[in-house]
């Protein structure tokens, strides 16, 4: 709470307010029952929403981005129903550039075959760029939560295609890199953060690929010394009931940023995990 800026938002470390740390801080405070600072954070979030329904990474940036998925993870009764609905609508309308009609038509006219991994639309970090594992995982988590409230076919369709996007981008050895499974013939290697995020988004999906991903996540969990990575790995393993019962958070791993700390608190508490996995 001491890190909250006067405008109601939070910085990553210090300085001006950004959407990502503010969304995570609000979730952590709501889970802890600290409603007053959370309300100020929610006011900041509502005030920074853009006319297209999305959210910018920070106030003053005139572009809606992936952080809209984090806003959509906030409860509509806290954020406000209309702001929440706009966030969901923005997510439903947003895809990676490689999935747009214009791009596909251009590629077809040029005679370029469509790579199998581009068959299913995912989400980009920022519109007009390609879809990636991180923003796709967050968007799937937000839409999955929304589908439990409003089981609409349009939401189901994007969840399913987002999950297929993730499954198509699983590294050969298991787990997930940021994007393609290979570049110029070289296999991409999995990262802990993206592996945890993708596993969380694939909750309920049982497949040999998911099992390989879980094995990679368990290996990373024993090796990794980054708070952000460990948070996502735990969440990913929890989503599949696979977090080892004797797991102990390693000593000496520092929370470098506010999202590190907030996400850590959320993963620790059942109420916190509900923001992602309820």
């Amino acid at each position: 709470m001491g890190k909250q800026n006067r405008d109601g938002g939070w910085p990553y470390v210090r300085g001006s307010s950004w959407t990502e740390p503010t969304a995570y801080a609000v979730m952590a405070l709501l889970a802890a029952g600290e409603t007053e600072p959370a309300k100020r954070g929610l006011r900041w979030i509502r005030a920074t929403g853009r006319p297209d329904g999305g959210w910018p990474p920070k106030a003053g940036v005139d572009q809606s981005t992936w952080v809209t998925a984090l806003v959509a993870l906030l409860p509509p009764e806290q954020l406000g129903a209309s702001a929440h609905a706009r966030a969901i609508a923005w997510l439903l309308e947003t895809t990676g550039r490689e999935s747009t009609l214009t791009y596909r038509l251009r590629e077809w006219l040029l005679g370029n075959p469509r790579p199998p991994e581009q068959e299913f639309p995912g989400w980009p970090w920022i519109p007009d760029a390609a879809a990636w594992v991180g923003p796709t995982s967050l968007a799937v988590l937000a839409l999955d939560k929304e589908y439990r409230r409003r089981p609409l076919p349009a939401i189901r369709e994007r969840i399913d295609s987002g999950r297929r996007f993730l499954q198509a981008r699983m590294c050969r050895e298991g787990g997930w890199n940021h994007g393609s499974v290979r570049a110029l013939g070289y296999e991409s290697r999995p990262y802990p953060e993206t592996t945890g995020m993708a596993l969380a988004a694939l909750r309920g999906i049982r497949s040999p690929g998911t099992e390989r991903g879980l094995a990679v996540a368990r290996r990373f969990l024993g090796e990794c010394r980054s708070a952000d990575a460990l948070n996502w790995l735990r969440l990913g393993l929890l989503a599949h009931g696979q977090l080892p019962a004797d797991y102990c958070h390693p000593v000496g791993v520092e929370n470098r940023t506010l999202p590190d700390m907030s996400l850590g608190l959320l993963v620790e508490a059942e109420k916190g995990r509900d923001f992602f996995l309820a």
Partner: protein, 290 residues
Amino acid sequence: MVSIVRAPVYDQRLYETVRRMVEEHGPEVRGRRVVLKPNLVEFEPESSINTHPLLVHAAFEAFRAMGAASVRIAEGPGHRRNTLDLADAAGYFKTVPCFEDVFTDLNLDDVTRVRPARQFSRLGALYLPNTALGADLLVSMPKMKTHHWVGATLAMKNLFGVVPAGIYGWPKNVLHWAGIHESIADLHAVFPRQFAIVDGIVGMEGNGPIQGTPKRAGVLVAGGDPAAVDATCCRIMRIEPFKIVYLQLASGGESHITERNIRQIGESLSAVATPFELIPEFRWLRMENS
């Protein structure tokens, strides 16, 4: 002017080597703000993927000794989100005293929207970090590496790290859609006051900038014109600089990168030339094939 200095290993002698190297060029830094921009990519302290922290600290001390009002280290990695964890794993916390006090994560810095002085890509205006924009001298400190999209990644390509991933994402994919070479040239045009020190002590060859293999070249290359520094590095790596598109774009008429137009001091190119292995798609870049 571009200088080439032999530096066989990462040890304490680097402090003296870098101090002399920078003083020889004499950039005006007294009372000015200097920002050192290393290349941090992956959590692999023993590999040749990141700019070595000892070199960065040697530059830090050199600019301070020359009277800079402030010297900061700043980087915005394109792949991994947790920059401080990455810097820790790369050895920066151990090597640079009070590292967190002198470091800025460019991915999460406050930003200003700017339009490059010369525009080669379709990017238009770009949000860039205030720490980099406010520098009186931006010192690009890349690793000497081959690159699987552009052939070689050196001082100019290293400026991709100033583009804030907090705005554009990890990786900074908008730059790829706008044209990698063109975006490099755009960024070069945004920062008129630059210096470059290239870590070629152990570089990377093959499938760089991430999955390549270490290549010992045993040199540092420095100068006030990043295009000339990069062209010199290419010649050391036995890559034809005129075949690197971003060098052609940024050098405007190629005069900056023509060998006879670069005043070179220190070791001769022939004495330090170390052919870097290229992936098959880029073997046509070899000087021998020109």
